[in-house]
């Protein structure tokens, strides 16, 4: 409508000699005839009425990467054992006398462990060898077990894969679910005052680049006692929060939230308590249950499945 209104307004005011050039086209003439009565009845507002400039905000998807490897499936475990057995079959024999001085405790321990590994791979030793070695192995195993009891105090046991936080179900802990990717969710009040679970987000100052704004917003919402590394200058996703239905759609600006990926390497979130009520480190499935449906649909493809 705009060009036609302008053209028709122009045609009324131009002098006669320019009339030919600014005369509207035949197809438009019929349209302007129809438009003229409606244009005269509209309330007067400036001709360039547009929606105000869209607001660009930034959000952070702060990720704690897995600390431990995944538990292999039963099939994978079986296949690895099978391959280990084939490797054992094809290895050249091990030069024990080169690495272990004959007659030492270390050599006995090694022989015991080797026997254990061989039994695990190939089953118990064959009968011809068994009768010869059984007496030998029994005496050896007694001495070796005694020595192993002495040694176990010195040998460090590795940390368990299931931590205390797993058993308690403490969602604020960063030691929970060490095999999974954890994402930071923050419990904050939105514009209406209703508390929602969402990723940390914030506005952008004038002249600031998006990734710098993301960093500033993260520290503003979650405190700076975190060693967070923003991966790149590029956003990894965008979310358009739905405009509230009751207000006029033309007046308020559209907001866009550009998400940036970051990794937490050390430290913990320290919320100020005023805007941010609570926080949680959650896996992707746990996130789904806490977050609003339309927010989930926007972010689910950005996150890692495992």
């Amino acid at each position: 409508m705009l060009p036609r209104n302008a053209l028709s307004a122009c045609s009324r005011r131009t002098p006669t000699r320019l009339w030919a050039l600014s005369r509207p086209l035949a197809t438009e003439a019929a349209a302007t005839e129809a438009a003229k009565p409606s244009s005269s009845t509209l309330p007067p507002h400036p001709p360039k009425q547009r929606r105000p400039k869209p607001v660009i905000n930034t959000g952070i998807i702060l990720n704690r990467s897995p600390l431990i490897t995944r538990e292999p499936t039963l099939f994978e475990q079986a296949y690895h054992a099978y391959q280990a057995r084939i490797q054992r079959a094809l290895f050249n024999p091990f030069p024990d006398e080169f690495y272990f001085k004959p007659g030492t405790i270390l050599e006995e321990r090694f022989k015991k462990e080797e026997e254990e590994r061989e039994r695990e791979a190939f089953g118990p030793p064959r009968k011809a060898a068994a009768s010869k070695d059984s007496a030998f192995t029994e005496s050896e195993s007694k001495s070796a077990s005694e020595s192993s009891e002495n040694q176990s105090d010195n040998v460090d046991e590795p940390m368990p894969r299931v931590s205390e936080a797993d058993k308690k179900g403490d969602v604020r802990s960063l030691d929970r679910r060490m095999d999974r990717n954890l994402y930071l969710l923050v419990h904050a009040k939105d514009q209406k005052g209703k508390p929602r679970w969402r990723f940390p987000q914030g506005g952008r100052e004038h002249g600031e680049l998006l990734h710098e704004a993301a960093k500033r917003d993260l520290f503003a919402e979650c405190g700076d006692h975190m060693d967070a590394w923003i991966v790149s200058r590029n956003p990894i996703g965008v979310y358009e929060p739905p405009l509230p239905a009751d207000t006029e759609a033309e007046v308020i600006p559209k907001t866009y939230i550009f998400f940036y990926k970051a990794h937490i390497l050390a430290g913990q979130v320290q919320p100020d308590g005023k805007n941010i009520l609570d926080f949680a480190w959650l896996t992707k499935e746990e996130l789904e249950s806490r977050v609003d449906k339309e927010y989930w649909l926007a972010i689910k493809d950005i996150l890692s499945d495992f």
Binding site: L67, L90, D179, W229, A266
Partner: protein, 183 residues
């Protein structure tokens, strides 16, 4: 791994990895020097006489029956290998689908940014060269240098830890304090 086993099955050759050109069968200990040296010599250069398999030796008469004990049958082995490759293919497809979804999200975000604000889009698209501040950083001293070197844009931080089978003994470092950032 499996292809070598199939080759072993098809080959009619004796199980020999390499031919030793030097004949050192039945050694005689002439100089009784350091027993360690003689041990090393004995291990590195076993006698060529075909009495038993040795660590560095090339004659392995027992591989055949050990392999027969290890695998149930050729057909079973091939089925296991195929099942494994199918499993790996499944994992690969799942991983690729996830990456594809993530890429589409990124692409959509960049397109939206391009339409909204071309200046910000241009800035977001800039490549980060890790070498660009190296000269200025080299001139700094002490804490400033430590701060500047701790995070280099365009490189992964060294604190990004690879997953291990068991977690670290000290657990997560909750008491991290920020260094003064000047950039």
């Amino acid at each position: 791994m499996s292809s070598s086993l199939l080759n072993l099955r098809d080959a009619r050759l004796p199980l020999r990895v390499a031919q030793a050109s030097v004949r050192y069968a039945g050694r005689v200990e002439t100089n009784i020097g350091d027993p360690k040296l003689s041990l090393i010599r004995r291990i590195l250069y076993p006698s060529n006489m075909r009495s038993k398999p040795s660590p560095t030796g090339t004659w392995r008469p027992n591989v055949g029956w050990r392999l027969q004990r290890a695998i149930p049958s050729v057909q079973a082995h091939e089925t296991i290998e195929r099942a494994w490759r199918l499993h790996e293919r499944h994992l690969r497809k799942v991983r690729q689908a996830e990456l594809e979804r993530k890429y589409q999200c990124m692409w959509k975000a960049m397109e939206t940014l391009r339409e909204l604000d071309p200046a910000l889009y241009a800035e977001a698209n800039k490549q980060e060269d890790p070498r660009e501040r190296s000269e200025t950083v080299a001139k700094l001293k002490g804490l400033d240098r430590k701060v500047a070197e701790s995070r280099v844009r365009g490189l992964f931080p060294r604190e990004l830890r690879l997953p291990t089978d068991t977690p670290p003994r000290d657990g997560w470092n909750y008491d991290w304090k920020p260094l003064p950032q000047y950039d």
